[in-house]
């Protein structure tokens, strides 16, 4: 049953609010994660065709994003159980400024984490655009307490910006939904299949206005420039596993909203309008991300801007269509896995060094060798170096651009990628290899930080996934990605 994908985490999330024992409560995370993963697999294997007019249904793009969310949540669940064990029971001080902080109740954190998964899953399986809107707004509301977990002044500021900017943005998307209904002269339901079947009869002017509104609305949530301003703050102030979910799963869900609108415009014959807009916002996001990554002092903010860059690449790929569309789907998977790994590493580095300033993190290879190696691998992967999956997907998008004869777009794309590679290398490489700030430690061997298994295992697992996708993509997987790209409106 398809609804179980939403119900399992939702019910467990609500239950978690009433569980008194901390260890049992943390176990609900693992149960929720494995239950969700099992439900996704069962529904993927017995995939029923989407019934016309149904509220929920599973198609290729929805399934793809659902799988990404499930994998990331599994990594986050393992990490969180260990993390909460470390944070609870004693006084915690702020990593950045050193004052003591009172974390928000763990009950609320675990409950909201599971509800977050439930709402994101609902976004992925909605066939009704109204329901989808309700679910996207719900993701904002249940994730706000997650960002505010530490409850100090910086996290409050980030939470407020997140709440207000995303709520206003999403309100624009609601307006877009109503405009879609206007385009059907008020006679069509906002059901995706209904809209696709009558698309040629929709009023083109209202339809284009609706797409603009949906692009701005969901684009705010997705972090497309220039609507991205909440993103670096929220990603840098949230606990690392929350950043992982925000960046790897939530942004994709918002992207799905844009893809649904894009497919309707394609079916209506206005595909050129929507794809040109996607290409434009894609390139703009990459350019702005590049500007802010240059000279970025805070490594968590650097990762946040890198997310903006990769969301731009996704929009660009889908806008170009064809091979680039398939590449964009692969890119979504690889970006989520890599970014998950990087944010987990960033959390670990923050714990070891007690600072988010990249210049103060030196010689990590010695202080925390596993973290440093994963961090380095993550950097190589996220900048699109072989043999990681992002190399393949970025190459596919480049080829797609060249096949369409879009030389200027390809040139802009490559320039941005090159700038970001150099800028990130200047931040990351000294963190890993740089000499320790003080003359070599007196005894010769500084104490090594503990690198707990609950961090190493999920981060390594995500990393291996990206390497695997870079080395070998089975034909069935590629076909699945191509199908997702076609349904997402890539021409």
């Amino acid at each position: 049953m398809l609804l179980s994908i939403v119900l399992i985490p939702a019910v467990l999330g609500i239950l978690a609010f009433f569980v008194a024992s901390p260890s049992l409560r943390r176990a609900t995370l693992l149960i929720g994660s494995s239950g969700h993963a099992a439900a996704v697999v069962i529904n993927a294997v017995h995939q029923a065709p989407v019934a016309p007019g149904a509220w929920i249904g599973l198609d290729a793009p929805g399934l793809l994003f659902l799988e990404i969310a499930s994998i990331l949540f599994a990594a986050v669940a393992i990490y969180t159980t260990g993390y909460l064990g470390r944070e609870s029971g004693h006084v915690v001080s702020d990593a950045e400024e050193g004052f003591t902080i009172a974390n928000r109740p763990e009950v609320r954190f675990i409950g909201c984490l599971l509800l977050f998964l439930a709402t994101m899953s609902l976004v992925c399986i909605s066939r009704d655009l109204g329901l989808m809107w309700v679910a996207v707004e719900a993701t904002t509301l249940v994730s706000a307490p997650l960002i505010n977990f530490h409850g100090h002044h910086r996290s409050l500021e980030a939470t407020w910006k997140y709440l207000l900017i995303c709520s206003v943005g999403i309100a624009m998307a609601l307006l877009g939904n109503f405009f879609l209904a206007y385009a059907g002269h008020g006679q069509v339901h906002l059901n995706l299949d209904d809209l696709l079947s009558v698309a040629p009869d929709l009023d083109p002017l209202w339809l284009k206005t609706a797409f603009l509104m949906l692009l701005v609305g969901y684009g705010t949530k997705m972090g497309l420039a220039p609507m991205h301003t909440w993103l670096p703050d929220a990603h840098s102030e949230a606990p690392s596993m929350v950043s992982t979910l925000l960046s790897g799963a939530l942004l994709n869900c918002a992207f799905l909203g844009i893809l649904r609108a894009n497919s309707i415009l394609n079916a209506a014959g206005s595909g050129r309008f929507s794809s040109e807009l996607l290409v434009f916002f894609g390139l703009l996001s990459m350019a702005i991300a590049a500007v802010f990554i240059i000279g970025q002092a805070d490594y968590k903010r650097m990762l946040a801007y890198s997310s903006i860059e990769h969301m731009g690449i996704l929009a660009l790929g889908v806008g170009l269509g064809g091979l680039a569309g398939t590449g964009a789907m692969l890119h979504a998977v690889c970006h989520s896995l890599t970014k998950g790994m990087l944010f987990l590493c960033a959390g670990q580095l923050l714990h070891v060094y007690g600072t988010k300033t990249a210049a103060d993190v030196r010689h990590a290879l010695h202080a925390a060798p596993r973290t440093a190696l994963l961090w380095l691998a993550g950097f190589l992967a996220i900048t699109g170096s072989p043999p990681f999956g992002l190399f393949i997907s970025e190459l596919a998008i480049l080829k797609g651009a060249l096949e369409n004869g879009r030389w200027a777009v390809a040139a802009g794309y490559l320039t941005a990628l090159a700038i970001i590679f150099i800028a990130m290398a200047r931040v990351v490489l000294p963190m890993v290899f740089g000499a320790p700030p003080l003359p070599a430690a007196t005894s010769g061997a500084a104490p090594r930080a503990r690198e707990p298994r609950w961090f190493v295992i999920p981060a390594t697992g995500l990393g291996l996934g990206v390497v695997g996708l870079g080395l070998y993509i089975p034909a069935t997987v590629w076909d699945f990605l191509a199908r997702a790209a076609v349904l997402a409106g890539g021409r």
Partner: protein, 214 residues
Amino acid sequence: MAAWTDIFVLGLVLSNFRLLASSRLTVMIETMVLQAFALTAILLTLADRPWPLRLIVLSLVTLAVKGALLPWLLRRTMRAADVRREIEPFIGYNVSILAGIAILGLGFLIVQPLKATVVPGSASLLPGALFTTLTGLLIIVSRRKALAQVVGYLAMENGIYAFGAALVVKEPMLVEMGVLLDVFVAVFVMGITIYQINREFDHIDTDRLSELKD
């Protein structure tokens, strides 16, 4: 019924000017109650009679959420954060009203090309709804107090709701209810955040939340 719709849209438009002109938060919250009544009336006058049961239920829920629950939440937050008025907005009240007039005119111009294709309804509905939405946006960007920004968000949501009023009979009720629920929870969560901001900083001036930047 179109004449009645026009009258209520006019009420909505006038309430926006009240919103733009007032510095006291209680007045702003009161205006939200007025807007809730105007919206419900627009919802009912746009539909053909006899009104279907679901429309009556929906308008009652709209009135309850937008007219009673949300103002109650806002007042509670106002007491908890101990703020009474917006002292120095970024854009002064007189300029706000002038901007409002300009936006209203702009609204009539913008909907001109779209008018011909619109769903049957009232001619003033689209510009009125657009004006309400943009007024909300103006309040959000021009006020310092977090609570005033939440009121702006609600006004914006009201404007969007008015856009949907013409379609409400066709759309499944689940969606409308979901929208109302989301707005309610949004204001609830924002209220909690405002309370925490007030406790942490002793003020809710959002322009002083400016530590995170590049």
